[in-house]
């Protein structure tokens, strides 16, 4: 078992060496593998039976038919190879994802001019294959899904590109290693607070964190506004959709503080991630305090991304 693992590792390293990682990989003969598929067995049996029939009855036409099918087999290998050859896979800055949730890795497929690629199957794992066709002179984008297991930078593993085109007689495939990094945020989970904060909001900070104040009044509903800002009570009274407006310039600032949460490093980061998302959604300004790192209070998508990125890439002291 251990030996086979080691052999496997050596093998994968070898395949990776044949086609070095890059943002854009074009499949060439160095990285394309061809093997007869399972259904070619039936085809071969048909060829053999025809040959037997032709031989036994000394019928040249039947022999010719069997040889024609044999030729078809050879030609289908060439067609299968050419279908994959020249196919270019490229990946452009995939958007970040959260740990333990499927992340889409958009892959652009394109072929050399006046070539097409049919019946492609792509996947990161052997079971999650997606089908794609690249018409002649066009490009196609396919989203591969990957399940990140930890936060931080994720480098997608090998992608298998395979095809049984044209007749299903041969399996042509390639392992592609794309050079891209996907930022994986921690998995958002509801946080648990340090004891003295959790008790009924008496503490100053706790009150601030849990407060829902700085309420300024109502404004008309704007499509696209976060649902959490909708004044549901008003709506229930039949007054129509309104949004709760929170204090603008006078808005209190909130801090996401690593030290305020309990649990292990990952647990705390997950909690912070959860809060950051919540607060961003409810339109608050907030800052982040991590051991040895502080991000000042601000709002907006870019800020949220900055905060989440800090959480994703945080390295605890012990690990440094």
């Amino acid at each position: 078992m251990r030996l086979s693992n080691r052999i496997e590792a050596v093998f994968w390293r070898w395949t990776e060496k044949r086609v070095p990682r890059s943002r854009q990989v074009t499949l060439r003969h160095r990285s394309i593998y061809v093997i007869p598929s399972k259904s070619s067995l039936g085809f071969t049996v048909a060829i053999f039976l025809l040959w037997l029939l032709g031989t036994n009855y000394q019928n040249n036409l039947i022999l010719a038919a069997s040889f024609l099918l044999m030729g078809l087999f050879f030609v289908s290998i060439i067609h299968a190879f050419r279908n994959l050859s020249g196919l270019t896979l490229s990946v452009n800055a995939p958007s970040p994802g959260f740990c333990c949730q499927m992340v889409n890795v958009p892959i652009e497929l394109s072929t050399a001019e006046n070539m097409a690629a049919h019946d492609l199957w792509l996947g990161m794992a052997p079971d999650g294959l997606a089908q794609a066709d690249v018409p002649q002179g066009a490009a196609a984008t396919i989203a591969l899904q990957v399940l990140p297991e930890r936060r931080g930078w994720l480098q997608p593993g090998r992608i298998i590109v395979k095809s049984y085109y044209p007749l299903g007689l041969v399996r042509v495939w390639s392992w592609v290693y794309l050079d891209t990094n996907i930022l994986i945020y921690p998995q958002p989970t509801p946080p648990t607070f340090v004891d003295h904060l959790g008790r009924g909001g008496e503490s100053e900070e706790g009150a601030r964190i849990q407060a829902d104040d700085d309420f300024m009044g109502f404004v008309d509903y704007q499509p696209g506004a976060p649902l959490s800002q909708v004044a549901w009570k008003l709506y229930a009274r039949g007054a129509g959709l309104h949004l709760k407006q929170y204090g603008g310039a006078e808005r209190a600032s909130f801090w996401l503080d690593y030290e305020n949460l309990t649990g292990g490093v990952e647990q705390r980061l997950s909690g912070l991630c959860y809060l950051a998302l919540e607060w961003h959604q409810s339109g608050r300004d907030f800052g982040l305090k991590l051991p040895g790192q502080t991000i000042s209070v601000a709002a907006g998508e870019a800020h949220l991304h900055q905060v989440l990125k800090a959480l994703a890439l945080y390295q605890p002291e012990s690990a440094k």
């Binding site: 039936g42 009855y57 010719a64 038919a65 099918l69 030729g71 078809l72 020249g86 007749l167």
Partner: protein
């Protein structure tokens, strides 16, 4: 990817279409009920795919399967090729009731390839080959469409195109394999037809046998002579010697029976046949007969290694002729055989007569013999007798128990089998050893290729008598009655009404039709000589010629080289792609316009848009600019907005710009 994908409607329809094509020519071989069932199943499955009809219940399916099995068992008692083909077709169409997944359809398509192979057992002409190729194309398209899973609207068209290209590319591989893969002989024998010997000369001669043969214009064999073709009256193609008569039927006696291989072989024929004078070398391409005897002119002296001579001086081989077969023979038309005498046994068997039949003939023979004095005189008298009083017809009256008595005294009309049979009977009754020989007489020269075509309607029976010091001498009593039958062919020996009974009456009446048939036949003949008849021996010779040697390693090296060459040509992506995929017409027209404009002094800058360029030209030269603007507009509308435009208009504009170039002051 362990998912079993369901079968797409499109793939199913292609499958049904190919099944229809595959089964259609096999109809002749199938029992009628199976034909009906096959087409019904295909139609039913088609209707199912349209959502009109329903899936059958499980019991109905089982019932149909059991019924088909029982039907096959009842129809075919022995396991001949027909039975195998029927079984195959039954399975091929019955699977439609249980066809759900893509892999089912895939396997069924592979079975289809094999069924196409069985088509070729029955037809081997060029038309049949072409038809089979179409079937292969259809099945391959089915496989491809099925594999693509139905996909988008163009998948069928695209598959058809791809498969056509692939089949063309596969052809060189096929040719190399065809010429090079060694031919292993027959591995086992299964008779091709259930009812053996449906046509052709059979091993017995009863009244009526020959008239059914004469209704057929099927080719029996073709003969190509090295030099000139002998006179029609020398063309007696011997097949069998029938020397036993039971009162009704002439058969081979045991020592003459070529089917009982042991004793019949004549080992010391060389010492007993004396030949002289002219010699004919010829090659015979025999149609399948499912019998083991061959045809040759007397006296055959040289023939292939695994062909033997029987005691009746006919040729035969060990295996049945189940496929079209070619063999070469040399014959001497002047010969004497067994002139020194025949064994007692042979003498006895050549005088055998059944008791209690034809008492009048026996008595007549004895009295004539006494009057004539010599066998030769007796033969002459008999021939004169029938020449004057008998006539030749294909519709003889039915004869009773004493058939020869009735024939000689009463009906006096018949054809070869009557004349030959009664002659031999008469001779034997007179004490002269005699025997019936059957085969074909004559043949028609193909004007296109110069070979001789012998058809079933040329089937003939004649006689041989053994005379002291002369050996076996051929006597054809039919010749005495209808000499034109021998000299010109059976169709000239009958009146108009009579010749209607012959096979292929139509084409013999119309010259154009006959001419067309001659050409087709010549074409088929060449096809058979070159393609169908390429066997182990020819292969060896071919390899010797091409590769200089037939040593396996040399051939392997050569074939690998040729394959590598073919693959290299196919893999070169650029070579023919470039020439084929030229730029679209509109781009070419636009570029041509740019060339003309640059001759006029307007050079399009790199990266300058069509519109900008046109505007620049029109600022400088309003008249020319108008043309360029319109052309650029057409070009842009087509390329960027994908609108249909008038290409002739664009062509005209470009042409006008070209014309201006000629007027240009710049030149």
């Amino acid at each position: 990817m362990k998912v079993s994908f369901s079968l797409s409607v499109k793939a199913l329809r292609w499958l049904l279409l190919s099944q229809l094509f595959i089964v259609a020519p096999l109809v002749l071989q199938l029992p009628i009920w199976l034909t009906i069932l096959a087409f019904a199943l295909i139609v039913w499955r088609f209707q199912l795919s349209r959502g009109l009809w329903y899936y059958p219940g499980r019991w109905l399916k089982v019932l149909v399967a059991v019924a088909v099995t029982a039907g096959l068992a009842a129809t075919f008692r022995s396991f001949a090729m027909d039975a195998m083909v029927s079984l195959l077709v039954a399975g091929f169409v019955l699977k439609l009731t249980e066809l759900r997944t893509r892999s089912d359809a895939c396997l069924l398509s592979y079975l289809g390839y094999f069924v196409i192979g069985t088509q070729l057992l029955y037809t081997s002409g060029i038309i049949g080959a072409f038809y089979a190729l179409v079937c292969v194309l259809l099945v391959s398209v089915t496989v491809m469409v099925n594999h693509a899973g139905g996909g988008n609207a163009t998948v069928a068209l695209r598959s058809l195109r791809t498969i056509t290209i692939m089949l063309m590319q596969a052809t060189p591989f096929m040719l190399v394999l065809f010429f090079v893969v060694p031919r292993v002989g027959s591995l086992w024998t299964v008779p091709l037809n259930n009812a053996a010997g449906t046509t052709g000369v059979s091993s017995s001669m009863s009244p009526g046998d020959f008239s059914s043969l004469m209704e057929s214009s099927d080719v029996a064999f073709r003969a190509t002579f090295e030099d000139e073709i002998p006179e029609p009256r020398q063309l007696y193609w011997r097949a069998l010697v029938l020397d036993h008569f039971d009162g009704r039927t002439w058969t081979q006696s045991n020592p003459q029976d070529v089917k009982a291989r042991g004793y019949v072989r004549w080992r010391d024929w060389q010492s007993q046949i004396e030949v002289s004078d002219k010699r004919y070398d010829y090659e015979i391409l025999l149609e399948p007969t499912d019998e083991n005897w061959l045809y040759a002119l007397a006296a055959p002296t040289e023939f292939s290694r695994d062909v033997w001579m029987s005691r009746g001086m006919t040729l035969y081989q060990k295996n049945l002729v189940s496929q079209r077969q070619q063999y070469t023979v040399s014959s001497y038309p002047s010969y004497t055989v067994q002139a020194e005498g025949i064994s007692d046994y042979l003498q006895r068997s050549s005088l055998q007569l059944p008791r209690n039949f034809n008492p009048y003939t026996r008595q007549l023979a004895k009295s004539w013999m006494a009057e004539a004095g010599s066998p030769e005189a007796l033969i002459q008298r008999f021939l004169t007798f029938i020449e004057n009083r008998f006539h030749y017809t294909l519709q003889p009256s039915v004869l009773g128990k004493h058939s020869i008595d009735e024939f000689l005294t009463d009906t006096r009309a018949g054809f070869c089998e009557h004349f030959a049979g009664s002659f031999v009977f008469f001779m034997r009754a007179a004490g002269i050893p005699a025997r019936v020989v059957v085969g074909y007489q004559g043949g028609k020269v193909n004007p296109v290729q110069g070979y001789l075509t012998v058809r079933q309607l040329d089937a003939h029976a004649w006689a041989e008598v053994w005379l002291e010091a002369k050996g076996w001498v051929r006597v054809d009593p039919t010749f005495a009655v209808a000499p034109e039958r021998i000299d010109r062919g059976v169709e000239f020996s009958l009146g108009n009404a009579g010749s209607q009974l012959l096979g292929d009456a139509w084409s013999r009446r119309f010259y154009v039709l006959a001419n067309l048939r001659d050409r087709l036949d010549a074409f088929n003949y060449r096809w058979h000589i070159w393609v169908m008849n390429y066997d182990g021996e020819q292969q060896k010779a071919f390899m010797q010629r091409i590769f200089g040697d037939s040593a396996p390693w040399r051939i392997v090296v050569w074939v690998s080289g040729i394959f590598a060459l073919i693959i290299a040509v196919l893999m070169l992506p650029g070579v023919w792609r470039k020439s084929r995929n030229r730029q679209p017409l509109i781009h070419r027209l636009y570029l041509r316009m740019c060339r003309y404009l640059s001759a006029l002094g307007y050079q399009r800058h790199v990266g300058e848009g069509a519109r900008d360029f046109a505007l620049r030209v029109s600022r400088d030269n309003h008249e020319l600019g108008a043309l360029v603007l319109e052309a650029s507009d057409l070009f842009e509308r087509h390329v960027y907005q994908n609108q249909p435009i008038s290409i002739p208009r664009l062509r005209l504009l470009v042409h006008k710009i070209k014309a201006r170039r000629l007027l240009s002051p710049f030149r």
